[in-house]
C-alpha cells in the first residue's frame, strides 16, 4: 500500500512540475504548481507529518499561490515568451545542466542508501505529530520562531513601500 501510494503521488508531482516548466502560459504553470504543492502535501502525510501537510495546503497552495495568480492576472497580457529568443544557446544548455545535476544527486542518494546509512532509530519513540513540533518550536527553536515574526513584519512593511504609488 505504502509504496504504491508513493509511486502514484510521485508521478503526479513530477508530471505537474514538468507542466510548470514547459507550459508556455504562466497561468497554466501556476495551476500545475498548485497540483504539485498538493501532491507534496500528500507525501508529507505519508511521512506522518500532518502539521506540515496542513501548513503546506494553507500557506503554499492557499496564500502564496493566490499571490502568484493575482500577479499573473495583473501583469501578463495573454501570451508571452513568443518571438525569437535572444539567448537561445544558453537555454539549450539548460537540459544538459539539469541532467548532470540529476545524475550527481542520484549518485549521492544511491551511495547513501546502500552505504553506511545510520540505523533507523524509529525505536526512539518516533515523535511525529503536532505535539513534537510544537514542543520543538517553543523550546529549542524559540529564537528563530520569534525572528520569523520580525521577518514577516519587515516583509510586509517593505511590500507596502514598494507597492505604493509615488506621491507626486
Amino acid at each position: 500500500m505504502g509504496p504504491v501510494a508513493f509511486v502514484v503521488i510521485a508521478g503526479v508531482a513530477v508530471g505537474s512540475a514538468l507542466g510548470l516548466v514547459f507550459k508556455r502560459n504562466p497561468i497554466h504553470g501556476a495551476l500545475f504548481l498548485v497540483v504539485n504543492l498538493g501532491s507534496v502535501a500528500a507525501l508529507y502525510l505519508t511521512l506522518g507529518a500532518e502539521f506540515l501537510a496542513a501548513a503546506q495546503v494553507i500557506v503554499y497552495a492557499g496564500a502564496i499561490m493566490v499571490l502568484f495568480v493575482f500577479a499573473i492576472m495583473v501583469l501578463i497580457p495573454g501570451k508571452e515568451e513568443t518571438g525569437p529568443d535572444p539567448r537561445r544557446a544558453y537555454r539549450l544548455l539548460a537540459l544538459p545542466v539539469g541532467a548532470v545535476l540529476l545524475v550527481l544527486l542520484a549518485v549521492v542518494v544511491v551511495s547513501g542508501a546502500r552505504g553506511r546509512a545510520p540505523a533507523a532509530t524509529s525505536a526512539t519513540a518516533a515523535p511525529d505529530g503536532v505535539e513534537a513540533i510544537a514542543r520543538l518550536l517553543f523550546t529549542d527553536y524559540l529564537f528563530p520562531f520569534e525572528l520569523t515574526s520580525v521577518l514577516l513584519l519587515a516583509a510586509m512593511v517593505g511590500v507596502l513601500l514598494l507597492a505604493r504609488r509615488p506621491v507626486s
Binding site: Y60, F68, I76, S122
Partner: protein, 102 residues
C-alpha cells in the same frame, strides 16, 4: 501503513529540484522563474521531512516550518519588486533586466 523507503523520497526530491533548476534557466518570465524557485524549495523541504522521518526526530519538520515562513516573505517581496519593474518598463522579460550587470 508501511511507508515507502526514505531513499525514494530523496530521489523524488532530487528530480523535483532538477526540474526547478531547468525551469529557472529556460524560462524568460520572472513569475515563472519564481514559481520554479518555489518548486526547488519544496524539493528541499521534502528531503528535510524524509530525513527527519528516518532519524525519528521532529527537527526536520521544524526547519521546514521556517522555510515556509521565509518563502512566504520572499514571494511577497519578490512579487512587489516584479510589479514595480513592470510599472517602469511595461515589459516583463528577464533578458531586459540587465541594468546591474557588469
Amino acid at each position: 501503513m508501511i511507508p515507502a523507503p526514505e531513499a525514494w523520497y530523496l530521489a523524488l526530491s532530487a528530480v523535483l529540484f532538477c526540474i526547478g533548476v531547468v525551469g529557472v534557466i529556460v524560462r524568460r518570465n520572472p513569475l515563472v522563474i519564481f514559481m520554479s524557485i518555489e518548486l526547488m524549495l519544496n524539493a528541499a523541504n521534502l528531503a528535510f521531512v524524509a530525513f527527519g522521518h528516518r532519524l525519528g526526530s521532529a527537527d526536520g519538520q521544524a526547519v521546514v516550518f521556517f522555510v515556509m515562513a521565509v518563502a512566504a516573505a520572499e514571494v511577497a517581496v519578490g512579487l512587489a519588486i516584479i510589479v514595480a519593474i513592470f510599472r517602469l518598463r511595461r515589459r516583463l522579460s528577464v533578458d531586459d533586466l540587465s541594468l546591474m550587470r557588469w
